[in-house]
């Protein structure tokens, strides 16, 4: 299965942010989306998540059998700002989420098993989410998206709010689940990208560009990424 992007364009007012993206994201890989500030990473995610309409071009899922449009269930989007319903406890949020999505969730586990999976402590599970820390809210948000088991996981700067230990856990977790998903995550931090991703994709001047990762020399890759990001238009 892959996510195919074809000539995707989007502009705000006169500013062309996405000038025709073309790419194929494949299942089983983690893609690091690198781009400078304002390059359009969030716009790209918003398009895939259908929060905004694209001006032209399209994107679809393609597997052995068919080409099809993305359904709501196909995409999970974890924002960098944690957003959780603050008036519920962690357990209640999960219960509600599972209630709603029961038919779609494969091999359903118990709520506590999910908490275990995400390493959320027993004493925190019945507290109101409004009293959770930033990182814990992020964990909940990530967890809900993983339970839904969408084909495509969009993660916007996912690891920056975690402390080093949790960040390491999360990295491991992403590696564990990647075989069933297309995971695309945006980041500013090159270390995370080089460390975790199978592919690095650069969003620059409104186009997507794949960086060759076959080279084992990390330093070399790093230089090429910087070079690519610095490139101005029409050079």
């Amino acid at each position: 299965m892959k996510l195919v992007i074809k000539d995707l364009k989007k502009k705000f007012n006169e500013k062309e942010v996405l000038k025709g993206l073309n790419f194929e994201f494949e299942k089983g890989k983690i893609y690091g989306l690198l781009g400078r500030n304002g390059a359009g990473k969030t716009t790209f995610f918003n398009c895939i998540n259908e929060d905004i309409e694209v001006d032209s071009g399209n994107f679809y899922i393609e597997d052995e059998k068919e080409k099809r449009k993305l359904e709501a269930e196909d995409v999970g989007y974890v924002l960098s700002v944690p957003t959780v319903p603050e008036f519920l406890t962690g357990r209640e949020f999960l219960k509600f989420f599972i209630d709603i999505n029961k038919e779609k969730i494969k091999n359903l586990k118990t709520i506590d098993e999910y908490f275990e999976f995400m390493k959320i402590e027993k004493e925190d599970r019945d507290r109101l989410l409004k009293d959770y820390s930033h990182g814990m809210k992020n964990k909940m948000q990530m967890l809900v998206n993983i339970i839904a088991n969408p084909n495509i996981l969009l993660l916007d700067e996912p690891l920056t709010s975690f402390d080093v230990v949790v960040a390491e856990e999360m990295k491991q977790m992403l590696k564990n689940i990647k075989k069933d998903h297309i995971i695309i995550f945006s980041t500013h931090i090159m270390e995370i990208a080089l460390d975790l991703c199978d592919e690095i994709v650069i969003l620059n001047n409104g186009f997507l560009e794949k960086i060759d990762m076959n080279n084992i020399d990390k330093e070399d890759t790093r230089k090429r990424i910087i070079q690519a990001l610095k490139e101005e238009e029409n050079v």
Partner: protein, 525 residues
């Protein structure tokens, strides 16, 4: 010093002009069509500059004339006695209070923050040049009106000319005191957060300003001259102190903290709104729900927001109940009033449009829904599926209607009852119409608010207002309801018309929500 004044004025002007352009861009329909390059368009900059200059001039004169008209002239008209003395008396004491309340120098405004903290302008030059400018504005602004009104009340020309200078000296004396105090204690007084002593002083001055004339005790022009002479001498020293003061930079660093500067603006910003709404969540031990899915979710929302949802509805219910009990009591003992109320009941049903509008909790409830729930939940894809949106909409509509029906029931039963007790009516249909139209209005407003929210939700994920259509619709709702107060129509016809309208509107609105909400109910981008 003149140079730094020009610089700071230009700075202030630039962002003033930009905010004028920004507000033009926020207008519905027109705004979106305007390009961002607007900010660099010369013609618009010139227009912005003209508007900004006009507003500066209005600011100089308009504020002063309104102040004198409302605070002094209108008050004088209420007193009998010597107008001439009343005028000078009130002006003097109000100026003393105003000096404490409005110093110019210690108001933590954004222009000061930008200029001295962000742009690192020389604090002393900036402060002094702008302070002198504002003092010139005080004198130029007041002078025409002290002359016009002072002469009108019969004060001498000299007095009228001295009055604005008195204001200037008072402000400067107080400012020099604040600086002196800072020098000693190292803390600056924030003008927007007056201490208790300041409040008491202000209260005393205001009481003296309005209280003494009521007792026929007032200052005379001669006493004013004496007080002016004192303020003049102290004022000269104060000006010298202010002028020589060295530590403006340090003083402003303690005053212009981020919180102080943004305090005024913060109260209305979404961020604060959200923190305040979040505070309303209550977790009582054992609040759970046996329901499932959205019903479970919504049920917990209602239970955890009992206070914000139910409290004021209950309060309104009790108050309306008490009002009706009192009215029933009154019409039983006073026949005259009884007759009049009977008459009113047959013609003033339109008033109740406004009353029902006022007591409806729609705005608060939808706001809580957004801030504490949808703001976060709308980032989840599953929450945005048409099925979930419509299911939750139904649950919410039921709750909102129920909340608002509580006081509405009292009114809808109270009105026909009152009509009956005050002598009744020939046409029995009137009882029914009163009852039904009030209920219809209540349901109408509940639906109206919720539908508007589902169709026009204006915020983005950072709780910034992205569309003004929602506010415009709310404002129109207010104006229309308010206009109904002016309308007088026979209850029977108006009631039938309203009930029909409410039912039709509600049906159309519900159809719209079912059709469009899955598309419109989202966070703005």
């Amino acid at each position: 010093m003149f140079k730094s004044f020009i610089l700071s004025y230009k700075l202030k002007n630039t962002y003033r002009v930009n905010s004028i352009i920004y507000s033009i861009k926020q207008l519905p329909l027109i705004g979106k069509r305007l390009p961002t390059s607007l900010y660099s368009s010369k013609g618009l900059k010139i227009l912005g500059n003209i508007i900004s200059t006009i507003s500066e001039i209005l600011n100089i004169f308009l504020g002063k004339v309104i102040y004198i008209l409302i605070m002094i002239v209108s008050m004088i008209s209420m007193y009998k006695g010597n107008n001439e003395n009343n005028f000078i008396h009130m002006f003097l004491f109000l100026s003393l209070a105003g000096g404490l309340l409005n110093t110019y120098m210690f108001n933590p405004t954004k222009d000061k923050y930008y200029a001295m903290i962000l742009m690192r302008m020389d604090a002393r030059k900036y402060t002094l040049s702008n302070y002198y400018y504002s003092m010139i504005k005080v004198i130029i602004g007041f002078l025409p009106f002290t002359l016009i009104f002072g002469r009108y009340y019969g004060l001498s020309l000299i007095t009228c000319i001295l009055m604005p200078f008195f204001v200037m000296f008072i402000k400067t004396i107080y400012n020099s005191y604040i600086l002196y105090d800072f020098n000693k204690k190292g803390k600056i007084k924030n003008e927007n957060v007056p201490t208790k002593v300041i409040w008491i002083l202000i209260a005393v001055f205001v009481i003296l300003a309005y209280g003494l004339p009521a007792l026929k005790i007032t200052l005379t022009e001669n006493i004013f001259y004496i007080i002016f002479a004192i303020s003049f001498i102290l004022g000269i020293f104060a000006f010298r102190y202010v002028n020589k003061f060295k530590k403006y930079k340090k003083a402003y660093k303690s005053l212009l903290t981020h919180d102080n500067v943004y305090a005024v603006q913060k109260q209305t910003s979404g961020e604060v709104l959200q923190t305040n709404t979040l505070k309303q969540i209550e977790l009582e031990k054992g609040t759970t729900s046996n329901k499932k899915g959205f019903s479970y979710f919504h049920d917990l929302f209602v239970k955890r927001h009992k206070k914000i949802l139910m409290k004021s509805a209950k309060r309104t219910t009790i108050i309306t109940f008490l009002i009706f009990v009192t009215l029933i009591f009154v019409v039983e003992i006073d026949e005259k009033v009884s007759g009049r109320i009977n008459e009113l009941l047959m013609t003033t049903l339109p008033w109740f449009v406004f009353i029902m509008y006022i007591i409806n909790r729609g705005t608060v409830v939808t706001q809580a829904m957004f801030m504490n729930c949808d703001h976060s939940m709308l980032t989840y894809r599953f929450y945005k599926t048409p099925k979930v949106i419509i299911a939750l909409f139904k649950e919410r509509l039921k709750t909102l209607i129920k909340i608002n029906l509580l006081p509405a029931l009292i009114i809808s039963i109270g009105l026909p009852l009152l009509l009956y007790l005050t002598g009744g009516t020939d046409n029995y249909l009137n009882y029914l119409v009163l009852f039904i139209s009030i209920i219809a209005m209540s349901i109408f407003f509940s639906i109206h608010y919720l539908v508007m929210y589902y169709l026009l939700q204006p915020y983005n994920v950072n709780i910034e207002m992205k569309s003004s259509t929602y506010s415009v619709v709310q404002w129109i709702t207010y104006v229309v309801c308010y206009l109904f107060i002016q309308v007088k129509l026979p209850t029977l016809y108006f009631g039938i018309a309203t009930a029909t309208f409410c039912i039709l509107y509600s049906l159309i609105a519900l159809i719209l929500v079912y059709k469009y909400a899955p598309k419109t109910f989202k966070l703005r981008v």
